[in-house]
Amino acid sequence: MRQCLNFICHVVVVTVTASLTMGLFAGEQARIETFFADYCYKCHDADVQKGDLRLDTAMDNFDIIGDRELWLSVLEQIETEEMPPKKPLPSAVEYEEILAVLEEQVNDIDWEALKHPGHVTLPRLTQVEYNNTVRDLLGLDVQTGRIFSPDAEGRTGFTNDRDNLFVTGGDLEKYLEAAEVAVESLHSLDEEPGLVKFEAEDLIMTESRSQPNAYPNGEKGYTLTSGQRTLYESIDIPAYGFYRFKMRAGSSEFGPATGLIRVDDVIVGEIEVVGKDFTIETTEAFLSPGIHQMALNVMLPPRAGRGRKDENLEYTVLPENANELVGIASRKNLPALNLDEEMVPGLKPLVSRWNGVESSVQRPYEWIRLLGEQGSPTELKKFLNFIIEREEPFAQLRTEIASLLGISVEAFDEIYREQNPENVVDRRTLRDIAEKAFPKKRGFIAIDWIEIEGPIMPEVGSKPKVARAANEALSDAKRWRPWFPDFLSRAFRRPLDADEEKPYLAVYEAILESGESHASAASQVVAAVLTSPKFLYRSEELPAEGAGEVISLNNHQLASRLSYFLWNSLPDEALREAASKGELETAEGLKAQVARMLSDERAEEFYEMFPGQWLGYESLGKSVVPDGTLYPEFDLDLSRSMKAETMMLFQSVFEENRSIVDLISAEDAFINNRLARHYGLPEVGMNGFVRVSLTEAQRRERGGLLGMASVLTATSTPVRTSPVLRGVFVMERLLGDEPGEPPADAGELPGNAGARGKTLREELEIHRDKADCAICHDKIDPLGFGLESFDVLGRIKQGKEMPKDTIGTLPDGNSFEGVAGLRDYLAEHRGDDFAESLVERLLAYALGRELQVYDEPVVAEILEKTAPGGYRGRALVEAIVLSYPFTHQHRSPELNLPTIAAQP
């Protein structure tokens, strides 16, 4: 039985037209009434109204279309026997009968008669769409729309919900300003770039005790040895445009360093230096004219967790008999490899060597244990280095032993782990302590000078040809004439109506006549175009009255819908051409564009925005932030890496046409070094992201959305994990199964829940005691428990934090253990539900409106078409683009749904 619980029914206008269903016959009505009277009205009538549900009125005004959500829910609750919740319970026969009647009613809809493409409210461009459109139109990624208020998520859960995009009071002034700045930036390309150079030692330093440094070869500068040390000075920028920051710098020690450049307290650039030798690195930024504050800082390495204190740290003082203690502990905690040495010839000496290495390795571990988190970093580093040195023989030994036994190295690791479970975890914990104690692999930036040049044509995000053409048209009246109508047509994303450019050109002439220059007149007209509603809204202008209620969208309208769906921007030349040739009227034409566009790098807009908003992690690092004291390692770098990881899996699924179920159970992953360290996986050999195949051991926790830090961090509170948040995430976002609202008096667990005697699991047991809570939480909590092995940042919990059991048992009897179990359960048993949930969300995202009851068959058809292939990504997008609501628009937003009265 499908669960279509996400459809909202707005019955705005009620007219009785042709009936869309057969209606409810007397006999059936009686049967439902009887059942309700026996088992349901006790709680769901006028007196009690449990859960705000009144089945009596629902029966009186039986409306299978208007109340669709309610009746689907009733059907589901009875089918899964969630309702009635306690005795008296219906007999098997009674269940069968009621289900048969309800199913018939629910499915008895003449979908053909109800066919309706919906109406997308006049779509205003979102802030992102505006910025991208201006970028593609003018060839410069000026992002002048940054001054607009950010768009909030609408009822669809996405920022492109067109009903939720308004233009209020002061907005037009902002649109004007944004347009004017964009135009001025084009003019700046005329100017000869200016250049200013600052020697670091001449800048002002906030830490007045800090002095300039002398470098080899007699140079001078500043080495920024703490995050707080700031070099600053005022800079005078002549015009809107892009400026190149060039810095000569090196790294002081340990490894690469990153310098941060701020203008007016906003980071505009990052400069990375790799080694001690000074190199010249550049970055570009868009700046506004005037005097600004430039500030230079060093980006600090990710900080250690668990509330490290400031410089006034007192280090651990070791006891007198430390050596002795270490010896005793080493012997006590020594792990061992227990293999039947007689089993295979040649095994005995290997095992004996192995155990020998163990004892030499255990000692430095014990030293680290003694020093603890407050140990002197130098000491900790020393012992860590011993460990690294002494563990070297293990690598060779593992391979030899494994090969001797005829098993894989992974299998051998398994055996070792099973024999020494506590030691393995223990050693990892101790290593972490040592590694976090000092900044690893990141250094301090030593700056010699910094130079600013501009305005320049930027190297990143620009289309020089387009920008130059626009710039020339704005400066030269002769170029203006041919350029403007084409520009206007691209801006409005359609061929112009007859003489549509005339009013604009008339204003241009008028301004010229008043004595202003061509440049001034042209600028004002272009600013007007970028402020016009024909630009700011994607008007799917419908032909005049008399052309029917349902309109087939034309080629250009389809091109626009396509490009804003997949690229958040206007159609490119290839798409425009296909539209002009009429190719988008055919399925082949549309499919060809979909395939091309999904593989274009502009589709990253889709791969970032859709999952980020659907799965709720887009706000990570902005409004959703783990507690800074407990989790200082959550910095910009980690936040970006987390999001990129998820984005890349989505990209792979859609671009490579993989099954979307891979989003749950992928065996590969996209990792960079930061994430590798975060997850405890082997580092990847280079900067940036690499696609890795996960080993079976790694797949215990990683692989697919459930093991991704982006999702796991977004489903935690700032201070602790939350099985409820994670359970709701799986249920609501992945399975499309909305849990109800909690009752008004439902409490909330405090921040220290799970740390005050009882485990989180035990604290949540209260959900079982109260029937009102259990109804929803019996479904939610088990899903969350499966993910309790991850901490707030998505790392695997260590030591005592790891819950003793991550088993979840659902009301339907299915149970699973840990994330691997949950993952397998979802992939094997709930794949269809996941696909349905994704298709519903994707359709709403593509359309920019909420789904209505008449979209139900559309979703069903898409699923039917793509199920045989395993719900492949590109196939789904194709199906959506070819669907009725995507290719058509209804003239009116009202539903005009008839109500069905119960027949006598």
Partner: protein
């Protein structure tokens, strides 16, 4: 002598200050009781050494302390307020609460006193408020909150802090730029032609649209109308409610860059603040004498060798206490300079000082230990007759300092029941 054509900048330099003023010769001196109230909040970081700050005697009969001794000549024009407690811990929170009475948590604060007043009276002046400072934000985290947040005491919303302008030339330009002169009118005319075009587009779209879409276009049209109203104001500026009764002196436009000398920098900002009030460019001013977590090097003062933050953690060592005291005294010397200049500006029967209220203090008492109780606070000026000065006002132990914020807010016309929901009353002795 070669003649150089005047660049636009030079034009501003010569005419800017006077362009901002209406033709005074034609103005009659207005009734002084209508002189507007001003509020100026001045923040000193890192606290003070208690024994060197605390005054002796309560009420009208009190003796100045070493740190406050520079205010000798202004006795009667200010009150010292003691016994008020701040909340929070560490430099970021103790700075952020100075004008809000609330503790910054997860980067959220309350709306500050100056911004609340600006919201009420700001419409009457070209700028609703002016926030000036001398140090840029520093990075890093202290007690879980970003150190950058300690660069201001001014918050316009729970999540928006207003950073001070620290460049004197930029501050000057923003305060005294041409708002209704030929440049501004030209810009207004330019926008007018743009508006006409887009209005036509909107109307034509609206004709073809269904009802829901028409509603969206109506939103757009309303927004266009708002811009038209604003342009109208530029083309035909309304009569100002009040004009200064004395001619403000012309101030030379500051040179580019940041002054290297701390005293020059601070005095420049104070001069700008004075002129802003004098010309009624704004009635709400806030001055960060330094960053809330300032490590300013004070070795330019005799006998001082350390940075301000370092000496504030004096651990009762005599030499650091002496430096710490000297620095606080130096700050008060500069405050005395500003108050003196304000007193010298006649406004009818009163002075700019008597029509204003100036709040000076720090978010902590002894920097050694970040003590948050019994804040060092001075209230100067009578706010046009609403505030009583000339006393040492000692508040009951445990009184939140938001009570002072509430008192000052009420004196300037705020009509809230409490201040940010945290004050428990007013400081009666300050109220006339």
């Amino acid at each position: 002598m070669t003649r150089r054509p005047l660049s636009r900048r030079t034009l501003l330099k010569g005419l800017g200050a006077s362009l901002a003023l209406p033709p005074l010769e034609m103005m009659q001196a207005r009734d002084v009781s209508t002189a507007p109230q001003r509020i100026c909040s001045i923040f000193q970081p890192n606290g003070v050494y208690p024994k060197a700050w605390d005054v002796t005697g309560v009420g009208r009969d009190f003796q100045l302390s070493p740190i406050l001794s520079p205010l000798q000549d202004l006795m009667g024009d200010f009150s010292v307020v003691s016994g008020l407690d701040n909340l929070g811990r560490g430099h970021v929170q103790l700075t952020g609460s100075f004008l809000t009475g609330k503790q910054i948590t997860h980067q959220r604060n309350g709306v500050s006193l100056d911004q609340q007043i600006a919201a009420k009276v700001g419409h009457a002046t070209p700028l609703s408020s002016v926030i000036l400072g001398t140090e840029p934000p520093r990075q890093g985290i202290a007690s879980g909150e970003p150190i950058a947040y300690a660069n201001t005491v001014s918050w316009s919303s729970e999540t928006t802090r207003v950073s001070p302008e620290i460049n004197p030339q930029v501050a000057f330009d923003r305060l005294f730029r041409d708002r209704t002169g030929p440049e501004a009118r030209k810009e207004a005319l330019r926008r007018r032609s743009v508006l006409d075009l887009v209005l036509d587009d909107a109307k034509s779209l609206r004709r073809k649209a269904g009802s829901v879409d028409q509603a969206k276009l109506d939103e757009y049209l309303d927004s266009v109308r708002e811009v038209e109203v604003r342009l109208e104001k530029t083309m035909n500026p309304p009569e100002p409610e009040w004009t200064p009764t004395t001619t403000p002196e012309k101030m030379k436009r500051p040179g580019p860059g940041l002054p290297r000398d701390k005293q020059t920098h601070l005095r420049l900002m104070m001069d700008l603040m004075l002129l802003a009030f004098w010309t009624d460019t704004t009635r709400v001013g806030t001055l960060m004498t330094a960053h809330g977590f300032s490590r300013q090097n004070f070795s330019f003062l005799d006998g001082v060798t350390s940075d301000h933050h370092g000496m504030s953690h004096h651990k009762e060592k005599d030499d650091l206490v002496a430096e710490y005291t000297r620095v606080s005294q130096w700050y008060v010397e500069n405050v005395a300079y500003l108050l003196g200049r304000m007193k010298a500006v006649k406004e009818g029967d009163g002075t700019l000082l008597s029509n204003s209220v100036v709040l000076y203090g720090s978010g902590m008492k002894d920097g050694n230990g970040h003590i948050k109780d019994d804040l060092p606070l001075v209230v100067a000026g009578q706010a046009g007759g609403k505030i009583r000065t000339g006393e040492h006002v000692r508040c009951e132990k445990g009184t939140p300092h938001s009570n002072l914020l509430h008192t000052l807010g009420q004196a300037l016309g705020l009509e809230n029941e409490t201040f940010n929901g945290v004050s428990t009353g007013v400081v009666d002795q300050l109220v006339v």
